[in-house]
Amino acid sequence: MLLLNHLWIILALPLAGAAINGLFGKRWPQSAVNSVAVGSVSLAFLAVAELVREFCRLAPSQIPFVGNYFTWMIAGPFRVDFSLQVDQLTVVMLLVVSFVGMLIHIYSTGYMAHEGGYYRFFSYLNLFMFFMLTLVMAANLIVMFVGWEGVGLCSYLLIGFWFLKKSAADAGKKAFIVTRIGDFGFTVGILLVFATFGSVTFGDIFEKASSMPAEGAAHAGVLTAICLLLFAGAIGKSAQLPLYVWLPDAMEGPTPVSALIHAATMVTAGVYMVARMHPLFSRAPVAMLVVAIVGAVTAFYSATIGLVQTDIKKVLAYSTVSQLGYMFLACGVGSYAAGIFHLMTHAFFKGLLFLAAGSVIHAMGGEQDMTKMGGLRAKIPVTYWTMLIATLAIAGIPGFAGFFSKDEILEAAQSGPHANLPLWLLGVAGAGLTSFYMFRLVFLTFFGAPRYDEHHVHVHESPRNMTVPLIILAFLSIFGGWFAAPRLVGGIDYFAKFLQPVFSAYAPPMAEPAVLISEPHGSPAMDLLHALVGWPVIVAVLGLLVAWWFYIKNTDAPKRLAQSLHALYTLLLNKYYVDEIYAALIVRPLLWISTNVLWHVVDERVIDGTVNGAAGVAREWGGQLRKLQSGNTRSYATWVVIGAVGFTVLLLVVLGMR
């Protein structure tokens, strides 16, 4: 029970790593920095493993297991303890975060080997791990918020890691500011939670919430408000419509960062939060619906943008957005387990995709434009195979991790308790598009003739410390989803079963717990068949074939299509001009106001005026008083006397002390 009683160790390890590297790493050799960074995270992972072992020993009554470390703040009824908790959901998140995080750390030691600010990078990375773990282990909203903001900060720092590059710095700022918009909602949500439940601790909140009646669409109340506000935060963090714009730009950061923060962990925080707050969401159908709609629409919408992007990382970014959309869709239709399941598998294959892309970019010497690649299959086989596996996984080809999770989501949307056919259609369409643009990526990158100058670019396979993580993740991208395999033959979804206690604990009476067993279609074989030839699979294969037809069979088709559908093409290519619209509608007015009102009037006139005025007055007085400083001792003495007399008069006359 070592770690259960000392949960803080898991947090302390990466924090220590960050501190050490940040403080001393500058003078240390890379090897030292590596050992500190990777070592701390690996230890954290081992700690998590041990924690899981101990966790499994716990009796159901002891779950969630809460460790309270110190009282952080007390203000009247408002009391915040620094407390951490462990339940099945936390365990899943911990495993994903710490394991993927560890792999990416290892990968980074290779990828960043030639970069300046090596120690800085790893210090930030460790810090991120610390905050992410805090986020998932938090036992109350405030601590969770700390982690929430912390990861935001690290994301900002890492996106702008090459802060000399203006685009990178801007991207960092953009990410920070855009997510801040969502966080505002989140903050207000927390306040509202406290106002409603008088506590910020999950346990208390859920207890009180479970006693409240579910709010139907007719009478949406405080719960709905809370959920929507919290979801606003999730939108910002997880880059959903309409706040997704920061994520594509975030690709300015180093690729491992994209993999860790903007694919595997941080961006999924929103999903985790929604799942964590499910007792509230389950009682706010309106909010649920909003979540589902936003998710589905985002999934489809960003997939369409992904179709035409040529920057390899941008494609992956949009696909991330759309996959996150799927997760929210799952939560929205009440199948939190599916959402978390997809979160996990996504962490595996999307992390893998990014790392592989990074490996490609590494091999191409920093080139990110797919139109300048091609034919890399033979030159970097490991990268090719791993990336192919990941693509199959994300495309939802049966047998791979993505298939199971996505299938579960779509099924929940189709025939779950909150089934919603339009959303399901959007999801399926999105799946097709996903499959298309992913295979487009693969074909453009690895197949066909090289479109780059072979004399200048010396393509080379990445070093061992980069390829090994790829292989491990590839393995997981295949088998990571097989917990749910039995379901297809009418068996049990072990993953959902594992999470079931969490999601059924405070489930509202009306809504039965998340799907465990699909409704029987007769024999297991039929079930399997039905699953394998379900719409998701069909559209996935379609997407694959279309991509093949376009980019292998006759490669000039895309251009022709682009010309024939020129308007649509440019629209997509420019991401629906969303950035421009935002700029026109929000950014410019804001800038104008802050320049002409806040800056030139408020700051210059009012504030500076006040300050300078005060200074001027002081100077004026000083100039007058200076004359007293005559250097003549006796005049000083006189002043002393005058003062004494003044005091005496004060005492005797004014205060009348006789």
Binding site: K627, Q629, S630, N632, R634, T638, V641, A644
Partner: protein
């Protein structure tokens, strides 16, 4: 029949006032120091008078301390005066006006 304490206090006040006047109007640094001593003496008298009035010894103790401090002050002050006279060939505070804006 003995002298009321208030008489002593009045005397002390008078002396103090004269001390202040001396302090303000004398020019010789040494004399100004003497003026300070005079004021201290006046205060001492008040102390003793009060000690007598309330029959408490603390007043005397304070006088004791005042005298000690006065001694220290005189030692240092006169040392300063000597250096001053050495450097500026004058004891007139009017001449000592470097401490100016």
């Amino acid at each position: 029949m003995s002298v009321p304490v208030s008489y002593y206090l009045v005397l002390s006040a008078v002396l103090f006032g004269l001390g202040v006047v001396a302090f303000v109007f004398k020019r010789n640094v040494i004399t100004i120091f003497m003026a300070i001593e005079l004021m201290l003496n006046a205060v001492n008298l008040a102390f003793v008078a009060f000690a007598r009035a309330y029959n408490q010894l603390d007043g005397l103790v304070f006088v004791f301390f005042v005298i000690v401090v006065a001694a220290a002050e005189a030692a240092v002050g006169l040392a300063i005066v000597i250096t001053l006279a050495r450097n500026r060939e004058s004891l007139n505070v009017e001449r000592v006006n470097l401490l100016k804006f």
